[in-house]
Symmetry: C2
């Protein structure tokens, strides 16, 4: 079953104009900002365990996870950018965190100093095992990216303790994480340490979940988490994205990991079913998932409204990409890379400002002053009380290189997943393979891949799902396969992925989008910001029979961004009546659309991805 793994983080140096600058700004702005907030809000200091009732900054149940995610991001960032000052903070934080570990191995600020009597009593909503999972991920990252072992040793002790508490075995208790995360963390820890107990605990958390009697009902006396926390049926019976979207998608990651570890085809089939269901019925065009603002949930199929009380949390899109890359690495099916790419270039990068220090929780597909946002502000914010999104970016962006290639040592094979410009030095069966990818991807479909290799290997390259026509040349000669089976030193692969602006309709079951149209070009979803138009976006009807052309980027956006220009009708009513009976009049106007991920980088204005069509 297992085919691919991600190459080592340091082996891929991004050189493209979309991901590389985001990664750079993550180092320059996102990480420093998250560090500052983590300090200012008392999150890191809480690990000193000196908070007492009545003092400010009472630790919150999910604070440990925020610290862990920033720490994880720091580890990746340090691997890519050695920085003694940053490393000093990293080491100090690790010391402080490790100092909070209890004699039995337990490590959680809130349940050590705020509610020590409640340890493991409120798994449904108290984020206790979620925090453990993120700390484990941070520890594994610290070891893999920097070779540091202190946090890893500490978290192994905590994991050992968790193994002694939870499980199927006699004498151990039941308990399901309310917010999944520990599962994928245990998979990482198992893969690193090969310690069988971690695999067993992972198996327990996956396989006990949703069985009867329901743990939440039986022990915590609360039926609400059944659906909200994906525990209504055993995980192998799940058929669609259900409940809290980030929880669902982190569970999917853990399920995929366990499927690979156990070579469990039936579990893998469940993962594929969930992926396919979400992609075909529950996903925004941008890759955003979890459309229901209230409780950050998946809604019913096809409920994908564009504004107001919609959601599409940044964390959920990142989680979806992390699930999809796992599924590609296990199966080699490129449909999962289409999901990865759709999420990264659209619904993920939309969640963070170009300069890296402002964040969306909700990724709207439409804003209008007459369409009230569910949250106080429709603009990106520097931080949130519930800070999962900023800290998710802090750990996600430094990992972008891991999505570019997948390596299959067993079959002597490397997959070029996303042909963004990069320089990579990948070890394959002890030999070094060097790639230099030159491209304007994702804004241009012409790609040149120069290969230096100490040995022959198979190079697979992906033709994206959106691409209708492509051409590949190996050393100047056309090839028809999506692979070079005996790739040699000095080979040059030239790829030409035809990339035209295309109209996308919506299934009429998405009732808010009937009569509407969206534009994509390659993997990029476009949107109309009012700042680029000559009339209100809500008055425009895009003319589908008129050609679309590319024009230069406006001030305030990177200069290589292809802007799409076309014709529209402006529908104008004579007065301001609420319900006029006099038909409107029409005039022709030009519209300009920019990549969705770049919206609201030139101030706040109305915006719509799905426009009326004529």
């Amino acid at each position: 079953m297992k085919k691919f793994t991600a190459p080592e983080l340091k082996s891929v140096l991004l050189k493209d104009s979309v991901m590389a600058p985001r990664q750079k700004n993550c180092y320059a702005a996102t990480i420093p900002q998250c560090i500052k907030q983590t300090i200012d809000t008392g999150r890191i200091q809480a690990f000193a365990l000196d908070w007492k009732e009545g003092m400010p900054n009472q630790p919150h149940v999910f604070w440990d996870s925020d610290v862990a995610k920033v720490l994880e991001g720091m580890a990746y960032t340090l691997a890519l950018n050695p920085d003694p000052a940053l490393e000093k903070i990293y080491d100090e934080w690790v010391d402080l965190i490790c100092s909070a570990q209890q004699p039995d191995g337990y490590l959680n600020v809130y349940f050590t100093i705020v509610k020590p009597e409640d340890r493991f009593k409120h798994l449904s909503y108290a984020h206790e095992l979620y925090c453990a999972g993120h700390l484990i991920e941070a520890a594994v990252a610290g070891y893999q990216a920097l070779g540091k072992t202190k946090l890893l040793d500490c978290l192994c002790r905590y994991a050992d303790y968790l193994c002694s508490v939870f499980g199927f075995e006699e004498g151990k208790r039941r308990g399901w994480p309310g917010h999944e995360e520990i599962e994928l963390a245990l998979a990482k820890l198992y893969r690193l340490t090969k310690k069988e107990e971690y695999r067993k605990l992972l198996q327990y958390f996956i396989n006990d979940r949703g069985t009867e009697p329901n743990y939440y009902e039986e022990v915590e006396k609360d039926p609400a988490p059944r659906k909200y926390a994906q525990a209504d049926v055993p995980v192998r019976e799940q058929t669609s994205g259900t409940g809290h979207a980030v929880r669902q998608i982190y569970l999917c990651c853990g399920m995929a990991d366990l499927a690979e570890i156990d070579q469990d085809e039936s579990l893998l089939a469940v993962c594929e079913r969930l992926h396919d269901h979400i992609v075909s019925k529950q996903m925004y065009l941008t890759g955003g998932i979890g459309s229901n603002f209230y409780q950050e949930k998946f809604s019913v199929d096809y409920d994908l409204s564009n504004g107001g009380l919609m959601y599409a949390e940044s964390c959920a899109a990142m989680g979806f990409a992390l699930f999809a890359i796992r599924m590609f690495n296990i199966t080699g099916n490129t449909k999962y890379l289409d999901t990865v790419e759709r999420c990264i270039y659209n619904g993920i990068l939309s969640g963070i400002s170009l300069d890296g220090n402002q964040f969306f929780y909700t990724n709207y597909l439409e804003v209008d002053e007459n369409l009230p946002p569910a949250v106080d502000s429709r603009e990106r914010q520097p931080w949130f009380g519930c800070a999962c999104c900023p800290t998710s970016f802090a750990r996600f962006l430094p990992q972008l290189g891991k999505f570019i290639y997948s390596v299959n040592a067993e079959e002597n094979e490397i997959s070029l997943n996303i042909p963004a410009a990069n320089h990579a030095e990948i070890e394959l069966k002890g030999k070094k393979v060097v790639f230099d990818v030159e491209s304007g991807y994702p804004y241009d479909g012409k790609i040149v891949v120069r290969i230096k290799s100490e040995a022959e290997f198979t190079l697979k390259f992906r033709i994206p799902g959106w691409c209708r026509k492509w051409n590949a040349k190996l050393n100047g000669a056309e090839i028809n396969e999506k692979a070079i089976t005996r790739c040699r030193n000095n080979d040059i692969l030239e790829l030409d992925l035809e990339m035209n602006p295309e109209w996308y309709y919506a299934n009429p079951r998405i009732t808010t989008n009937t009569g509407r149209i969206a534009i994509m070009r390659g993997p990029i979803v476009y949107t109309l910001e009012e700042i680029d138009q000559t009339c209100p976006v809500r008055e425009m009807i895009l003319k589908l029979d008129e050609p679309l052309k590319l024009v230069a980027a406006p001030d305030g956006l990177p200069s290589d961004v292809p802007v799409i220009e076309g014709k529209a009708l402006r529908e104008k009513f004579a007065g301001e009546e609420l319900y006029p009976t006099t038909p409107p009049e029409y005039s022709e106007v030009t519209f300009r659309a920019i990549p969705y991920a770049l919206w609201q980088n030139r101030g706040d204005c109305n915006m719509a991805v799905w426009m009326r069509r004529a």
Copy 2:
């Protein structure tokens, strides 16, 4: 200022095919059902004050209001339909309620037996003065409709007590009703008793509201009710529907009453401004108001989405009609009658099933299986834990006759507000005027009014705002005025209000309705129920250039209901893709639309008022 009052309830006998059957079913089904629920849930028994902690049916803060509203409805119903069995229940309830009055005059179940220590401590959310208001309304109704005085005496004592507690005067305390209602009730009580204290308390509640220091913040230590309960600014500075819609509109009723009582032109101007703002920016085509499901609130201007998390509570539409008829009676401006009529024939009657025993809280303008309703069921329900809507119908429907005419004794004038078929015997300055109105209104614009009168008077008749062309004849001779200034015995007025199906657009600021169209004919808003179509409603695009014609009503609807038939395009995509790129294909289909108020009387199916247009 004051021009009109409603005629006595018994003086108007409805004979039309829309209101009369609803009123009949209110007597036959709504009232009995409300009585049964009021008994079964313990609401009436609670007045025995024998509930104790641990017993079932713990009284709730708003229960008194439910009982009061049913009682009010019983009084009107008994006036129209003498019924000894019903009157026995009425009298027993009155006895029980009066027995709950405390020695100081206080009368509230919850704050007598559940939380006696909290009397008047939580005005913001505890419905205490709201319950008092409804009890006063019931008492006034019992006296005016049936001549009964027991409840009135009891409530006068309670009102006297309230006057001793609240007010501007030295020694009295501040306090603002969280849910307005007591204001309009005090106005009724003042008009009946002419007791100056009641007017003073009404003045206090209106004029202190929203002043600084804010009572909710200062005393109840909660800033939330500021906007939610219309207390953010003094009422005279209010400019738009704000916060909880029913609260806002009941406040408007009280303000209009005080404006009339005090002949206060500036307060009247505020009422007009609020009415006009709501009508021009915050009202559904159906007259529904308060579009925000969460907290049942007014939203920002133009946020009038059709499904999902919309609201348009039945009670709010009834409140709006009650406010608008007050405004017409004070000003004589028929724009308010347009509001009355829009609400009654659409957003109010939609809230109750034809048979009178199922109710909507939310009045959706669109339902689709892919558009999840905010509530558990999108179907009408026989009762709700929060039972305001059923009990509002129980008291509103028997009063429908009060909307038909307005009487201005001072100017010897009667206004025919809504020309629905009826027989009326109205006393004007001691003389009797008898009207026999024959019409198919609101389904037909031809009206014949036969007048018997002991003396001459002025008959004003309204030409509705929707009517583009009309013709009036007095005794066969055409007249051009909207009045007969010297109406005599045996006069016959013939009115012909041209009534054609018309297309209504939506202001593009209602972003969910851009590209959509609705149909009205006369005062009736139409809707497409899927049961009447040959394809899913969501796939249909109405053809505006094709004629609309009237066809017979389908089985299950009253036989005189004019159904509108027209042509539509069916837009069909080849597959089930979520985001197809292949353009859809079109075929022509016939659509049928029924009056919105009649939807979901033939089972549950998809429905939409606002349809795509071509």
